[in-house]
Amino acid sequence: MKFIQKFSLIAIFFLLSSCAAVQPWEREGLSDPIMIFDENPIDKGILEHHIDYREGSVGGTGAQSGGCGCG
C-alpha cells in the first residue's frame, strides 16, 4: 500500500505541476523522436514479450499485451 500511496503522490505532483504549462511554441525539443516514450511500438512489443516469457512480471510500462502461451 505504501507504493500505491507514493505513486498517487507522484501523480498528483504531475497534475499540479501542469499549472506551469509549457507553451506549444516551447515544445520543439520535446517533439523530437528521442523524447517520445516507446516511439516505435513494434520494437517495444518485441522486447516486452520476450521478457514476459522469461520473467514473472507484466504491466506498468505503458504497453498493452494480449493473451498468449507464455503467461
Binding site: F3, I34, G60, S65, C68
Partner: protein, 380 residues
C-alpha cells in the same frame, strides 16, 4: 508451448494524440538462448490513413521455432525423466510455426484518440483471440495526456501430449498519464491491473517427484492456482540532455496474488548524429523478483499446488540494448536504399537471467540470450 511467442497490440504511445502516420514497417527478428531455443520471427505492419481523422493498421507475424527449443540439453539425473514424452515434457515435433494477424483502427476523438485492435494467433497446440481498446486525451493545453486501455483475451490450450482442451482468459485494464514537466523533461506514470483465470500452467512442464523411501521418480502435471491477479505501477522520466541527446530512466514495481513481486530499473541513452540522420540508442535494464508461494526447488510428495516454471522462482536479470537507426538518405552509395523516407534499424540485445534454483529442464541457474533485429520503416 515451450517457446517464445509474443503478441503485441497497438502499444499506446502516451504522447501521441494524433492518428498514426502512413508507414510500412518490416522487421526480421531473431532470438537465441543457452536453453537451446532458437526463433526467427519476421513481421510486417502497415498503417494507412483512410480519412482526415481515421487510420487503420494491419499486421502479420510468423514465428519459426527450432526443434531444438523442444529438446533442451540437460544433464542426466533423476529429474530427466521429466522430459519423457509419455509423461509430458517437450515434444519431438520438428519446427513449429505460429501465425499472428492483427487489425486495428484509430480515430480522432476531439483532441484525443480512440483505438480498437483485434488480434488472432494460432499454432498447433494453442490459439488466442484478443480485443483491445484504448483512449488518450490531452488536458492543460496538452501538457498532460491521460490514457486508459482495456485488453481482453480468450485463449485455447490443447497440448499434443494431452487429450483435453482448456481455456485461459485474461482481462487487463491500464491507465497512464504523461506530463510535460519543462521544456526539456517529460514524465509518465502508468498502472495496470490484470486478472488471469483458467489454464495458467504450461502443460508441457513436469513436476518430477523422487520419493525419499524407495527412490521412485513419478511425474506429475504442475498445478497452479486457477486465478492470478497481477498489478504493476511504473514511472518514467525522459530528459533532454542536449540538442541531440536524451536520457530516459524508469522504475516499475509489480506484485500479484501468487506472492511474486519485483523491482525493475532501466535507463536509455539516445543520441542523434549527422543532422539527425542517424540515432544511436544504448539501454540497460535490471530486474529482480521474489518467488511464488507454492514454488519449491523439489517436492518430496504431491502437493495441492506445484510448479517448476523458472518464471515463478526468485532471481534477477540484466539486459543490455544497442540500437542504430540510419536514414536512407545517408546510404547514397547504395542507390536502391537511398531514400529519405526510409529508416533502417539494427538492434542487438544481450539478456542474462539468474534464478535461485536450477531450471527444471535446462538444469542450470543461468540463461543467456541474444535478441537481434534488422528492419526498415518506410514513411509514404
Amino acid at each position: 508451448m515451450k517457446k517464445i511467442i509474443f503478441i503485441l497490440l497497438a502499444v499506446c504511445t502516451l504522447q501521441a494524440q494524433e492518428i498514426p502516420a502512413d508507414e510500412l514497417q518490416v522487421n526480421f527478428n531473431g532470438y537465441f538462448d543457452t536453453f537451446s531455443v532458437l526463433i526467427a520471427y519476421p513481421s510486417i505492419s502497415l498503417n494507412k490513413q483512410v480519412s482526415e481523422n481515421m487510420s487503420i493498421t494491419g499486421r502479420y507475424l510468423v514465428d519459426v521455432i527450432s526443434a531444438a527449443s523442444m529438446r533442451s540439453d540437460f544433464d542426466v539425473d533423476g529429474v530427466t525423466s521429466a522430459t519423457s514424452r509419455n509423461s509430458g515434457g517437450g515434444d519431438d515435433n520438428p519446427d513449429e510455426i505460429r501465425h499472428e494477424t492483427g487489425l486495428g483502427i484509430t480515430r480522432m476523438l476531439g483532441s484525443g484518440t480512440i483505438s480498437l485492435n483485434g488480434l488472432y494467433s494460432t499454432e498447433h497446440d494453442y490459439n488466442s483471440s484478443t480485443l483491445a481498446g484504448n483512449i488518450t486525451y490531452p488536458f492543460a493545453k496538452k501538457n498532460t495526456i491521460v490514457q486508459l486501455g482495456v485488453v481482453r483475451s480468450w485463449d485455447k490450450v490443447y497440448p499434443q501430449t494431452r487429450d483435453w482442451k482448456r481455456d485461459k482468459n485474461v482481462f487487463t485494464i491500464n491507465g497512464g498519464m504523461t506530463q510535460i514537466l519543462s521544456k526539456r523533461m517529460l514524465a509518465q506514470v502508468d498502472a495496470s491491473y490484470s486478472r488471469m483465470e483458467g489454464m495458467l500452467s504450461d502443460a508441457y512442464q513436469v513436476v518430477s517427484i523422487i520419493f525419499p523411501g524407495d527412490g521412485r521418480a513419478v511425474n506429475y502435471e504442475p498445478i497452479h492456482p486457477a486465478e492470478r491477479i497481477r498489478r504493476a505501477v511504473g514511472v518514467r522520466l525522459n530528459y533532454r540532455t542536449g540538442a541531440n541527446s536524451a536520457i530516459q530512466t524508469g522504475y516499475r514495481y509489480y506484485w500479484d496474488t501468487w506472492d511474486v513481486n519485483s523491482h525493475t530499473i532501466q535507463g536509455l541513452y539516445q543520441r542523434h548524429f549527422h543532422n539527425k540522420k542517424m540515432t544511436l540508442s544504448l539501454g540497460v535494464r535490471y530486474y529482480s523478483q521474489g518467488r511464488a508461494y507454492f514454488y519449491e526447488e523439489a517436492y518430496t510428495s504431491p502437493q495441492p499446488l506445484m510448479a517448476v516454471d523458472s518464471k515463478l522462482d526468485s532471481g534477477n536479470s540484466q539486459e543490455y540494448q544497442f540500437k542504430l537507426r540510419i536514414n536512407g538518405e545517408m546510404l547514397n552509395l547504395l542507390p536502391i536504399f537511398s531514400d529519405e523516407h526510409v529508416d533502417f534499424s539494427f538492434k542487438f540485445n544481450f539478456y542474462r537471467r539468474h534464478t535461485t534454483t536450477v531450471d527444471w529442464h535446462a538444469r542450470t541457474r543461468d540463461l543467456y540470450a541474444i535478441i537481434t533485429s534488422f528492419g526498415f520503416r518506410y514513411h509514404f
